[in-house]
């Protein structure tokens, strides 16, 4: 198989450079939004426990399979603090890029005061 003058036909150095660039460029992310919620004045954070929940949505060529990942993440967060008060919630929404696909992620981090 002849690659002619393309990058594939220019030796191992060019291939290594291309592979490195693809590796570097293949693990990128985009941070869309970060929000910090207020800390409740009544909450004693010295006794608080940290809780965290994540949800993700895989998108292949623009086709979405799951649309309730944010609700699921919120339910996971609530489940970690039954009977307590969740305060100081940090919400992060980001996207991890991939080959012809991407993954949208939400991450909630908060304090659980029981």
């Amino acid at each position: 198989m002849k690659f002619g003058n393309s990058i594939l036909g220019r030796g191992p150095k060019a291939l290594a450079l291309g592979a490195t660039l693809m590796w570097l460029g293949g693990c990128t992310h985009a941070l869309h939004m970060v929000h910090e919620g207020d800390l409740s004045p009544s909450a004693k954070l010295g006794e608080a426990r940290r809780v965290m929940a994540e949800g993700e949505q895989r998108v292949v060529m623009g086709f979405v399979g799951q649309t309730d990942y944010v609700d699921q993440a919120r339910a996971k967060l609530e489940a970690q603090c039954r009977g307590g008060q969740i305060t100081g919630i940090q919400s992060r929404y980001s996207t991890s890029h991939g080959f012809l696909s991407w993954t949208n992620r939400v991450r909630f981090q908060a304090y659980c005061v029981e």
Binding site: H29, L31, V34, E36, D38, V59, G98, F99
Partner: protein
Amino acid sequence: MRHHRALRFLHDFSSRLRFARITVVALSLTPMLLSGCAIMHHTQVGEIDSQAVLKGRRFEILISETGVNFDEAARVGKALTQHQQTRDDIGGVAGIISLFQMGPRTGNQVFSPMYADKAFDLIRKECPRGVVSGLVSIRETAKYPVVSGEIVKIIGYCRET
């Protein structure tokens, strides 16, 4: 003799003019290269406790990560070379890389989105035993050629109790 002097004057004048032109171009490009454009993507305000805002201490948390614009890097790479084959190669690699970077973007791409999570602990450090209120979360980009600062800024008020 007079003719020779006139020629020399003209030569000196054209050299000075060329130098002045280069200086003007360099001076006009320098601010463009050194300064960035700030782009705000998102902002959100939390609850406001007037006592904390009026009597409390204002704090600001700034977290930044380097973003890279691969399309712009490829364009710069192409502009820097006159060799057609190298230009084609750069274009080819940029095209392949873009296939690995599909998805929505806010600002430039970063190599980890977790840098923003630090804000959670930094707020507590700013106000370990007080009331935190009036939090404003800002997501913005400071754009420079090829790279950018992907910024998360948190402004808040701490009232010590």
